[in-house]
């Protein structure tokens, strides 16, 4: 097997035994990137000289007896909404096309402590708004398993990079499913941690009360290790939780005997493709064989989740994105002769259509006379959703559903109809509204050979149950699909 398709934990063992060195890994990633970037467009910013330079520095570090951490020498793709000091961070937007941050995001600082390698800044939907990665000012990302198909979004670039062997693992961000849905569509593992577990400092905000950074990896073990690396309390983020140091790999136990699994019927409703439902049901049967108890349950308020999300997320976004005005950084329309004219033209030209649409919805929902009916009402319904989950977790350890109602769809298929695109996140959105942790793992292939993902949801800070369940199911399912054809 090529190095670029190995997991970080496997590579760590090889590094320990000196079977590979940092430069070998970097070279393997570089080779695949050079070959596949033109086809897949997973990166916005990929610089092979930086890759080599980092690898050389790490070789020196290792040669000098430096400790091998879980991600030492591991090339990680970083979604381009996570700030990297001195390296362009664009949010896939024209408005930030040349923006170079003067500081590192907390998650980047944490990976630097591991002596990781930044593989590149990965493509995404502009400002993380989208479910297909077609809303990028730098062109769409293709699904490595089928180049006609979308990779999902908004972390389409990170997911495609990991899937195609253009990175060993990746950091994405998830506001309504942006890690889990593309992981599902690309046949890999994506985790959205409990809200507050990973610092948001340096993540360019979409919707502050929903955003979380999380790992996109080839397997559950890497997911647990990457979460251990990036999580933890951050004094720069008032919404970060102090859990103390947790080693999530300790929860990778192949035993779900007696585990109580609930299957919310609202997440298996009409709109879920039958092949997807069958595949998830198969996995549930396996879980039952392994000794878990499976029951269908109802969380009635979930039917409002999509509506609640499309009030709260755009409202927060409309305010978060006000700062992009052409004054301090980013694109500016130079023809405008007055300040407000400059604002209007800069933002009109700098933002893409989906971003403008969401700014419009959000501005409307917060505006005088509509706030109570939209924003505040949505916040109240959000409470109902949280309460439904709380009640479910009194009885069940985890909930299982499909990650996405369908497998990867064709590029261009949904671009004309925003609402149908929004429906792609119907299974993932409730989790963000409740701030819960959830993982997507691959559970099978459709008749078109496209991967199907299964979502495991747990209660607040119950990542332990997520990893235990995901690890056990991963073993039972034995999913194994690499886009090796791309290399032929």
């Amino acid at each position: 097997m090529q190095l670029n398709f190995l997991t970080a934990h496997k590579l760590k063992k090889m590094l320990e035994k000196r079977e590979v060195c940092a430069s070998d890994i970097a070279a393997s990633i570089q080779e695949s990137c050079e070959k596949l970037q033109p086809k897949i467009n997973a990166y916005i910013n990929f610089d092979k000289s930086i890759l080599q330079k980092q690898a050389e520095e790490i070789e020196c570090y290792i040669a000098a007896g430096g400790k091998l951490h879980d991600f030492t020498a591991i090339p990680v793709a970083v979604k381009d909404n996570i700030c990297t000091h001195g390296i362009k961070t664009t949010c896939a937007s024209k408005i930030l096309a040349d923006y170079v941050p003067v500081y590192d995001a907390t998650v980047i600082k944490k990976l630097q402590e591991h002596k990781y390698v930044l593989a590149g800044k990965a493509n995404m939907d502009e400002f993380a708004m989208g479910s297909s990665n077609e809303n990028s000012a730098f062109g769409p990302v293709k699904n490595p398993l089928d180049l006609q198909m979308v990779p999902g979004g908004s972390s389409g670039g990170p997911a495609a990079a990991v899937c195609a062997g253009m990175a060993i693992c990746a950091l994405g961000s998830d506001t309504g499913g942006s890690i889990r849905q593309p992981a599902s569509l690309c046949g890999i593992v994506g985790l959205k941690p409990t809200y507050g577990l990973v610092s948001r400092y340096g993540l360019i905000s979409f919707a502050s009360s929903l955003d979380q950074v999380g790992p996109i990896t080839r397997d559950v073990t890497d997911s647990a290790n990457l979460l251990s690396a990036i999580s933890g309390w951050d004094q720069c983020d008032s919404t970060s939780i102090n859990t103390g140091k947790v080693s999530y790999k300790d929860f990778l136990v192949d035993d779900i005997k007696g585990l109580n699994i609930g299957v919310p019927k609202q997440l298996m409703a009409e709109g879920v493709d039958s092949q997807v439902a069958d595949s998830v049901n198969n996995a549930l049967e396996m879980a039952q064989h392994l000794g878990a108890n499976i029951e269908q349950i109802s969380l009635p308020s979930l039917e409002y989740a999509l509506s609640v999300f499309y009030v709260i997320a755009p409202s927060e976004a409309s305010s978060n994105l006000s700062k992009f005005d052409g004054v301090r950084y980013g694109y500016r329309n130079m023809q405008a002769s007055t300040l407000h004219q400059m604002y209007r033209q800069t933002r009109a030209q700098g933002f893409g259509p989906e971003v403008k649409r969401r700014i419009m919805i959000g501005t409307y929902c917060l505006s005088s006379g509509y706030y109570d009916a939209y924003y505040e009402k949505a916040q109240r319904v959000r409470t109902l959703i949280i309460n439904d989950f709380k009640k479910a977790f009194e009885k069940y350890d985890v909930l299982i559903s499909p990650t996405s109602p369908t497998t990867a769809f064709k590029i261009g298929e949904k671009t004309g109809d925003p609402l149908s695109m929004y429906l792609s996140d119907i299974c993932t959105i409730p989790v963000n509204l409740a701030g819960l942790p959830a993982i997507s793992i691959p559970c099978g292939l459709s008749s078109e050979n496209l991967p199907i993902g299964l979502q495991i949801i747990a209660g607040t800070l119950r990542e332990d149950l997520i990893f235990k369940t995901a690890y056990s199911l991963e073993k039972a399912i034995g999913f194994n699909k690499f886009p090796l054809h791309l290399y032929e």
Binding site: C91, G202, S205, A207, S319
Partner: protein
């Protein structure tokens, strides 16, 4: 004063003013409201900024605990109740001095509400209700290019974000103020309290205390409210009174002519001493307030509030009361001393050293010669170089009869100049009062012997002539003789 003005001097006023004030105070914390940048005044542009206060993408605010303490302290001093739970909202509007195009502020769940401030108007006390005290962040500063520096005449502006994120408290009053003079006195009293609390330098010139007013008029005695205007840029005690007086006159004039007062925001121009309407924006303000999702609520438990309450020093009102009731100072003296925190602290230290018998002497010095000296030299009491201890030893010497009050004045002058202790000055110049009866008796005998004529006059009943003889004794002792003692001995000797 124009004919409509309600000046509380008995003149019939046709219209009564209804005035409310909004005061912004920059807190003197070490760092900004939501980041670790040092506060700055006069620093090079954009040298006190960081990713957070520049509003760079991806940054998040974290609340400064000291700013919260300062705000609570102020609210408590204004008799407010501290709300158990308060949250920060975002106030959304686009402007170049706003790094994020929203200001983090408090909206419907402020830190504190329902207080009051009693404003002493001499002949009466106006209780001004405090609606709310809330926290927010300051904006940056715009520098308009072009020679005039005026916004309307420049083609471009430069933004300096050094001030952006400076912690502010906003203090909003009820519309309880009835005259421009009351507005001015309210602001003076408010400033004094804040200075006592040591939470802001309250410099109106540097903009750390800023005031906007709203004013409406109604026929005297009427219940219904008139249309109000908001007046900006009232940034000195004088301007607040002048601006409101102008606006009173203007509104009264309109009402007299049967015209309507328009609801407007008006700008006070101190050069012309008038107010003028600000150009109306095409879009009426719609700030789209919503709870800032980057911050979590502030929950104030009773113990924490009590702890802060204990740190509040004796405030001006309480001080005046104590000076009057416990110390028995004259009303004017008490107010004068309490009107400046440092002076009051200085006086309190003196009172402590001197005890009840002599503290009035300290009050007289502090409001008399000492104040005159500070005034002449444009110094603050802290900068005088004369410690309370030094002043007290000077007072002890006068009271103990060691020096005369006349000599004391020159000793004080030298203390101020040389910063020497009074004891040393007296020793150096041999200024101690002569109270030795034997020594004085000898000098008096000499004077009597040398002035036969005058002595005879005294003996003939011309009592006034004794003054000349005493003057001779004082001259011989260079003013150091204890005058009372000289008088006593002299009288005795001449009556023989």
């Amino acid at each position: 004063m124009n004919k409509y003005m309600n000046n509380n001097t008995g003149e019939m006023a046709k219209y009564e003013a209804v005035i409310g004030l909004e005061t912004h105070v920059e807190l003197s914390t070490n760092t900004k409201m939501f980041c670790g940048c040092a506060l700055s005044f006069g620093a090079e542009p954009n040298t006190r900024t960081c990713p957070v206060c520049l509003g760079l993408p991806g940054t998040l605010p974290v609340i400064n605990s000291k700013a919260v303490q300062f705000a609570i302290k102020t609210a408590l001093a204004l008799n407010c109740s501290i709300n158990k739970s308060s949250i920060f909202h975002r106030k959304n509007y686009f402007y170049a001095d706003m790094p994020k195009n929203y200001q983090i502020s408090q909206y419907n769940r402020p830190l504190a509400s329902n207080g009051f401030l009693d404003v002493d108007m001499g002949s009466y006390v106006r209780r001004v209700g405090i609606t709310r005290v809330h926290m927010e962040e300051d904006t940056g500063k715009l520098i308009h290019t072009g020679s005039s520096g005026r916004i309307s005449e420049s083609d471009a502006s430069i933004v300096d974000y050094n001030r952006a994120g400076t912690p502010l408290i906003e203090i909003v009053t009820e519309p309880d103020i009835r005259t421009p003079a009351e507005a001015k006195e309210y602001l003076i009293a408010l400033r004094n309290i804040i200075l006592y609390l040591d939470v802001s330098d309250c410099s109106m010139e540097q903009g750390s205390l800023r005031c906007d007013a709203n004013i409406s008029l109604k026929p005297a005695g009427a219940k219904s409210m008139g249309t109000k205007t908001e007046i900006k840029n009232l940034n000195s005690f004088r301007f607040i009174q002048r601006g409101l007086e102008y606006e009173y006159k203007r509104q009264a004039g309109l009402l007299e002519e049967g015209k309507k007062v328009l609801q407007q925001t008006r700008h006070y121009d101190h050069l012309t001493d008038t107010t003028s309407a600000l150009r109306l924006k095409e879009e009426a303000h719609d700030y789209r307030y919503f709870p800032d999702p980057d911050l979590v609520p502030l929950i104030m438990d009773k113990d924490a509030v009590q702890d802060i309450k204990r740190e509040i020093p004796e405030l001006p009102g309480e001080k005046i009361k104590r000076y009057l009731e416990v110390f028995g100072l004259p009303d004017e003296t008490a107010r004068l001393i309490a009107s400046d925190k440092d002076t009051a602290q200085y006086f309190d230290r003196c009172a402590n050293i001197l005890g009840p018998g002599k503290l009035k002497a300290a009050a007289n010095w502090i409001t008399g010669d000492f104040a005159a000296y500070l005034n002449k030299e444009s110094l603050k009491i802290k900068q005088s170089g004369i410690s309370a201890e030094s002043l007290c030893s000077l007072i002890e010497m006068i009271e103990g009869g060691r020096i005369s009050s006349k000599i004391a004045k020159s000793v004080f002058e030298e203390m101020a100049q040389s910063k020497k202790e009074p004891q040393d000055i007296i020793m150096e110049h041999n200024l101690e009062q002569v109270s030795d009866e034997g020594e004085l008796s000898k000098i008096i005998d000499e004077v009597i012997a040398a002035n036969d004529e005058v002595v005879q006059q005294v003996k003939d009943g011309k009592d006034k002539a004794i003054g000349f003889l005493i003057g001779q004794v004082m001259a011989k002792t260079k003013g150091k003789a204890n005058p009372a003692l000289v008088n006593g001995i002299m009288s005795k000797k001449l009556k023989k």
